[in-house]
Subunit: 289 residues, 2 copies
């Protein structure tokens, strides 16, 4: 076990958890996964904004400065240049009863080693039978309820794919188990609105904001499977892998005709992260400071 | 904190959890809540059967005899006559990546004091805006992904109701946040099939099996809100509260015309539990052995 930061201090080994912690017993919590380059978390502000929004919906009182302090301490302790930071905030110990609220949140911060070849890797998708529930506010929060995504990811692996394409209950494509979904059609850079059941991804927001800089027009609209098959390119985004071109869906090849703007978007994101953190994701490796 | 049973031993206080436990980080786990009367868990066999089915779907290797041993030890330690046992089984510590599997499950068993006035209490429901996702296998497992239910329960509390009526994505009533749903129409005892998004409740199965003994015919079929409003009685079932008559849905009164068979079912369940455990739920209290 690597050193973790837990409720105010670094812990080497097991974390002392209250057995009534509603994060463990009911999945009542939210998390963020943040890439670290040059010992600086990328897009930390937007990640903490989203964490705060999630904890507000769940009624969890969070101290942002405590979390920032924890992040600083764990990065120092690990002495890593690049890595994958995970911040988990649960409701903490609570009474029995779903409507009951807890008083003292639990904060766990871990830092996993950077893995080479995470960025911009091509991905084959298999459509999952498990539908994304756009009728739940939870689908727009990064909560601990990841069972559907886990089952869908394993279903995709069994089908020989790298990730699952998730449709919402209306049968429209929304995301993968860990990524937002984009398609390029002419100059249009299309992604489903969050109302479709998509997580408001940090990288999704950056890609929409940077569209013009790669000569694309950002469009949020519901998509169909036909849109993906007729697109010039389809790609995924998330905070660790940035962009990933989709090469096939259910063993049907996806056009790479518009792969140039996808690559341009990846390079644009890397340059933006370099400016923010002082580290270029394309040169990230597992070495320590 | 009460004494818990954790991974093979009784623990007084915090449990030493691996920070990479996928139960805490991704809600990858299942649980059971079991009523204890006369220091004997009621319907333990069916509860452990369901726990095993859930862990099979999630790929968690469980030792039933270890759990039975843990239950025995925690009941002895608490010296309680009646109580609420909770068995949580998570995938345990695992690698990053949704499709990754863990090797050593985490088992947590807790025992909460019996609360008076839990049984057969009338309940007012408010229909939740959050839909039950019948397109997910998780809705038929008792997983740790309880966010939707938590948010729905709080929504109901804000509306002045005791619990939320949950519809599936097709708009048909399925369950409450913690209970299965039944309606009596003439001699028909109707409950939605699990394909509608209902949890295969232990008490649900007993109520269906015992229907004939209270002169009702068990029927599993999709239901509508109109069915509930035209029924002679509507009631909820779960393992702790057994039955509960529904008196209103969204402030509209529900008929109590068929309240006699609901009461008869409650008494039948209590007698069955008395035969199994030696304790009558109707006489359960918080005293120790």
């Amino acid at each position: 076990m690597a050193v973790a930061w837990f409720n105010g201090r670094l812990v080497d080994g097991f974390i002392p958890l209250d057995p009534a912690d509603r994060g463990l017993t009911l999945g009542e919590g939210v998390f963020e996964t943040v890439a670290v380059f040059n010992a600086h978390p990328a897009y930390l502000g937007p990640h903490l904004d989203r964490l705060e929004k999630g904890t507000e919906v769940l009624g969890i009182a969070l101290s942002r400065s405590t979390i920032e302090q924890g992040i600083s301490e764990i990065i120092s302790a690990h002495r890593c240049r690049s890595g994958i930071l995970r911040i988990t905030a649960t409701a903490g110990p609570g009474l029995r009863g779903l409507a009951a609220s807890a008083t003292e949140p639990t904060i766990l911060i871990t830092l996993a080693p950077w893995q080479e070849a995470m960025l911009n890797q091509p991905v084959k998708l298999a459509t999952s039978a498990i539908r994304r529930n756009e009728h739940s506010p939870a689908c727009r929060l990064k909560t601990l309820a990841y069972i559907d995504n886990i089952l869908a990811a394993r279903e995709a692996a069994r089908a020989g794919a790298d990730d699952a394409l998730m449709l919402n209950t209306a049968g429209r494509p929304v995301c993968s188990t860990i990524s937002n979904l984009f398609a390029i059609d002419g100059r249009a850079l299309i992604t489903p609105p969050v109302a479709e059941g998509a997580l408001p991804g940090i990288m999704r927001a950056r890609v929409l904001a940077l569209a013009k800089s790669v000569d694309l027009d950002p469009v949020e609209r519901p998509m169909t499977l036909a849109d993906l098959h007729s697109a010039g390119a389809v790609f995924l985004t998330n905070s660790i892998r940035l962009t990933r071109p989709v090469t096939a869906i259910d063993n049907v090849q996806i056009s790479q005709a518009a792969s140039e703007p996808v690559q341009a978007m990846f390079d644009t994101l890397c340059r933006e992260i370099l400016r923010e953190t002082g580290g270029d994701p394309r040169q990230a490796d597992g070495t320590n400071l």
